[in-house]
């Protein structure tokens, strides 16, 4: 790999590894950072545009880009070589985020019955509940990846005080639209699920809509602001449709 690809990453990165018999993973770090996430998003978008022969699907996780290929049609070594040349040809850590991103503003009720672990999470972060809500609402977050469940975003980064662990015991079930926190990230649940993340708020926003023309509403790289609303207003939004009062605009 040429030095260009690793100029602004940590030494030794990025690396390309095989995933099973029909995939390669380009990892930009083995720990999450803003630069590594940006690199993964930019690299995947460029790979999609480049249409390397044999590539059937791409995706990203927090700090890596994945390509899947058909091993009966494609020589893995040749694709790996093409991928290495592609990745090495650019400093992905400095690349702009992909085009076509959107900014979402999602009304959220924090604390109380709708966010029963806000107090616990704020205490772990070492701040008051009011400061916790202000901190989250005041941070413009990026969809760093979508995973675990369909359309489900992992959003980051929150300020450093939010580097709190997941809970040891699972919460048996959080509802669709639940806003949860751990390790400087938020997860906005698209299915009702058990979780080790702390449930601090609730939205009426459904990010996975199997019945809709566009079932996956958010894309990796989109940005989100969670705007606090009062309980009474939230009750109105709950019956207002799948957006739950959320609005979006194109990002330049």
């Amino acid at each position: 790999m040429s030095p260009a690809g690793r100029k602004h990453g940590r030494p030794g990165w990025p690396v390309i590894r095989a995933v099973g018999i029909d995939g390669f993973l380009v990892s930009f770090d083995d720990r999450l950072s803003d630069a590594a996430n940006r690199a993964a998003l930019a690299c995947r978008a460029a790979l999609d545009a480049a249409r390397l022969p044999g590539v059937e699907e791409t995706s990203t996780s927090l700090a890596s880009a994945y390509v899947r290929f058909d091993p009966t049609e494609t020589e893995p070594d040749a694709l790996r070589g093409a991928l290495a040349a592609f990745v090495g040809g650019r400093d992905w850590y400095r690349a702009p985020l992909p085009a076509g991103r959107r900014l979402w503003r999602i009304p959220t009720v924090f604390g109380g019955d709708r966010g029963p672990q806000l107090g616990e999470a704020a205490a772990l972060a070492g701040i008051s509940e009011d400061a916790a809500v202000a901190s989250i609402a005041g941070t413009r977050l990026r969809v760093e990846t979508i995973g675990f469940a369909p359309g489900q975003p992992y959003l980051g980064h929150l300020p450093p005080c939010w580097d709190i662990p997941r809970q040891t015991d699972l919460t048996p079930r959080v509802p669709v639209g639940a806003l949860t926190v751990a390790i400087r990230q938020l997860v906005l649940f698209t299915v009702s699920s058990p979780t080790g993340w702390r449930h601090i708020g609730q939205t009426a926003f459904r990010a996975f809509r199997p019945e809709a023309e566009r079932p996956f509403v958010l894309s990796p790289g989109d940005e989100v602001i969670f705007e606090p609303v009062a309980g009474a207003e939230f009750q109105r939004l709950e019956t207002s449709g799948a957006d739950g009062g959320a609005t979006s605009e194109d990002l330049p």
Binding site: G23, L25, D29, S61, P71, I146, P150, G151
Partner: protein, 342 residues
Amino acid sequence: MTAAVTVLEGGPHLTVQDLGRPGYLAFGLSRGGAVDRLALYEGAALLGQSAGLAAIEMAGRGGVFETGADLTIALTGPPMAARLDGAPLRWNASHLWPGGTRLAIGAAVAGGYGYLHVAGGIQTPEWLGSRSVHLAAGIGRSLDAGDSLPVRPGATPIGHGWRLDVAQRVDGGAIRVVPSLQTEDFTPAERDRFADTRFRRDMRGNRMGQRLLPDGTGFASDAGLSVLSEITVPGDIQIAGDGMPYVLLAECQTTGGYPRIGTILPADLPRVAQAGFSAELRFQFVDPDTALGIERAYRADLERLGAGRKRLVTRAEDVPDLLSYNLISGVTAGDPPEGAET
């Protein structure tokens, strides 16, 4: 004209499955589809149709089904006791299912996933190019008694009354794996111990994954539980917090944070998902070139399965079953369907 297969008895273990819905990993949706993809190809070979058509997947046990129209069906996967209005039906074979009769499918003798294929395929609505129910993602739902599934009536171009000698998949054996993203985080000694260990299928398993039980202690890696969540694919052997291996299957999550010691080749995955509870499994690491050769041969074999199709009553050992075939499949009535291959 349409017809239907009605579920008279059955429950959450029955789902409609095809080859799944590739292409949505970026949106957090795994491919899904049949747990035993080979069984879908076998059913397709028996009916002379595309493996992409949807069938009913039966986890552990079948159900009781009824149809109003004459249908041609095939039964694949680990054998289950199947009867048509009381007359036994051979497994890994195709049959005429006359309208108005009842098809009763019992428990899988060795556990695992059985498949009921209908000529023309189950015609439930597609979503993103597939009819597969994805339970983990909440796409579609399992079947209930009273459900009716649309099908196309009529025979296949090759007719019914065929059987297929299938690759065994309930007896365990050597399962070939390639290294995964975290294999190097396991010490060479731990990897050797993994390859020397015998495993059995645990009772705990579903369409997302199958837990395995080693004949010794669990496994540990240097990565511990601090792995950054990363892409996961069916066949990955993840080592959970308790040290036990958990093999990811069709409905696995798209990302996971547990270290993975290896990835099972698609050709061998059915023998893990379908292993009998007493069958012994062991893992054998193979290099990438060997794995590529195995995969290419496997895919070529899938396309050639139809060539192994044989008439149901051509071997001496089939004769004891002759009565039932006379009554229900008509194969011995001297009227091989048009276009039948021999």
